[in-house]
């Protein structure tokens, strides 16, 4: 059950796609993500990582089971409330950055505030402060195609943080970056985690995952095991979850 110390809680979540044969992208997942924690999610391609992220990020609703964000059951919310929850509580960072091509770095960072009704001055001040924090103060008027990959990802990270979300979700955030820029971005993740933001990062790479406090291993839509990075590996029998 969700407690005040839990940012996100999934209980027995199932996500089924029906394209001919039903595909269980997630097949009975229960998981608690504590507030302020840093979680990595690993698993082979098609194991359900992105599906899990979409559920946690309030973009999607489960076919079965419940998802709680901030103690609110996502499945019972209206579409509008869900969008609102997503806008205020969740920040997304994508593998492909997903910045608005015609907007400048500053405008991209300010974008999520637009939908929360913040005024122009407030938006710009906040966006500028965040760009400064990710080290791009001198790039605020650049458009995404005038930025390097690492810079774009940093803009995306600043955007994810602009509404002060409880949780930041990153789906393969360093997949398109070279080692050096990857390190930059991951350092920032660490900084934000230190500052109290709940981080969830999907990755294929062990060294990325190792920056987290624990790694959730997915396989075929089920949690295979949860690895606590203080050394202890908590073998999880998925059968015990039922």
């Amino acid at each position: 059950m969700a407690t005040t110390d839990t940012a996100v809680s999934l209980s027995n979540v199932r996500k089924t796609y029906r394209v001919g044969e039903p595909v269980h992208a997630l097949d009975g997942v229960s998981l608690e993500i504590p507030r302020g924690s840093y979680t990595a999610i690993m698993g082979p391609s098609g194991s359900g990582k992105s599906t899990l992220m979409n559920l946690v990020g309030c973009l999607d609703t489960p076919s079965e089971g419940d998802v709680f964000i901030d103690d609110r059951n996502v499945g019972s919310l209206s579409g509008r409330e869900r969008t609102r929850l997503r806008g205020t509580q969740v920040g997304f960072v994508f593998q492909t950055f997903n910045l608005m091509p015609r907007l400048t770095a500053l405008e991209n960072v300010a974008l999520p505030q637009l939908f929360q009704g913040a005024d122009r001055v407030e938006r710009r001040e906040r966006a500028r402060a965040l760009l400064e924090r990710v080290g791009l103060a001198d790039r605020e008027d650049h458009r995404p195609n005038e930025l390097s990959g690492g810079q774009r990802q940093r803009v995306a990270l600043a955007r994810a943080l602009v509404n002060d979300p409880a949780i930041v979700l990153a789906d393969e955030p360093s997949g398109n970056l070279d080692t050096e820029t990857e390190a930059e971005v991951l350092d920032l993740f660490g900084e934000f985690h230190e500052a109290g933001t709940t981080m969830v990062v999907v990755t294929h790479e062990r060294h990325v995952a190792e920056r987290a406090e624990r790694i959730v291993h997915l396989l075929d839509g089920k949690i295979e095991r949860i690895e606590e990075l203080d050394g202890v590996t908590d073998e999880l029998d998925s059968g015990a979850n039922r």
């Binding site: 979409n54 990020g57 973009l59 999607d60 579409g79 509008r80 969008t83 609102r84 997503r86 806008g87 205020t88 997304f92 994508f94 997903n98 910045l99 608005m100 091509p101 015609r102 907007l103 974008l111 999520p112 637009l114 939908f115 929360q116 009704g117 005024d119 122009r120 955007r159 509404n163």
Partner: protein, 431 residues
Amino acid sequence: MRPGASLRLAWRSIRGHKLRSALTTLGVVIGIAAVIAFVTLGASLQAGIIGDISPDDQRNVYGWAADPDTEGGPLAGAQPIFSQDDLESVEELEEVEAAYGYAPIQSQSVSDGDEQIAQGDGLIASGPSYIREERLADGRQFEMGEREAVINPAAAEQFEENVTVGDELTITVIGGEQTTVEVVGITDSSEGLSPFEGFESSPRIYVPTDPYYVEQAGGFGIGDGGGEDGAETNGGDGADARFIAIIVEAESTSEADIDAARESTVAYLESDAADASEFLGDDLEVTFQTSTELLQQLQDILDLLQNFIVGIAAISLLVGSIGIANIMLVSVTERTREIGIMKAVGAQNRDVLGLFLTEAVILGIIGAILGTALGLVAGYLGAWYIDLPLVYPYEYVALAIAVGILVGILSGLYPAWRAARTDPIDALRYE
């Protein structure tokens, strides 16, 4: 989302595709320009015509005989059937103050001494009171049966030495016959005196039907040309001259008097006593109208034409809005990913809807403004070309902008709705 913010974002994406946006608005521009141009022209035309009717013309009823199926303005399809006897009998009717014929005479030229000027039309035969006293700038009305004429300033100024009262002019009619007239009066303006002439300014010479029209009709081989006694002796040779039109003056300008004059005249003309009656039947009927009614007819034709243009413009607007809708749909598809991003970072459906609607409405308004400007310029040029007083129909400008907004909303609604419905997960996956 604040309206200012969606305006800025929408404007951004319009500016991002300048050519496409320009082409999109073209349909709206053309449609609205057509409406505005025509409405401007129509209003100017109306002002030009209505401004010319003098109130004392209001007790005149203008009559002619034509196939009832004939469409058109005064005298369209008119046949010469009114005899001199008919005119005199009508004038004797109790309800009628005066009645006289009206007939344009085909001429070739007019000369003042040695100076000859070619003039094919503008020689008009009618009764003395056709030229109302107050329209005379100089001299007097001509008298029936005399070789006299009243001319207008344009006719007087044609000659090197302006023609003045007392001068004698020589008129050569079609066929080469020559006749002389003494100018006894000059009118105060060169515009037409009745709807029969039209209202534009041109040189005109007004002469009594007798002798001029009677003679000319005679010249066409009906008789010897009754000459001066044609009018006085009922049933002489001149009685064979038939007039194409008749002007009846009622006792007063009141509607009752006008109707009474009109009814009794028509009743008489259709009775066996009238010479005209033998020609009348199913395919030839007399029409009697006041100049206000005639103008109404003109106005009706104008309205018809205007409706036609407005219809074409409406089709153009329809095409224009389909254009906007089409471009918006393409743009929605093209920006699927952007829509997904916006929704992922917290955009509500109504934010996305508002954004795309705003874009469509901006396109509609731009189209309306450009179209209005273009239409006003075209209307201005048209009015200037046919020499009309320019009247800007301002209320239509407001209407055009409203139509632009409406077109924007209507054509943007479906694409915007599609955009709003986009599922962010699918959209983010969209390549």
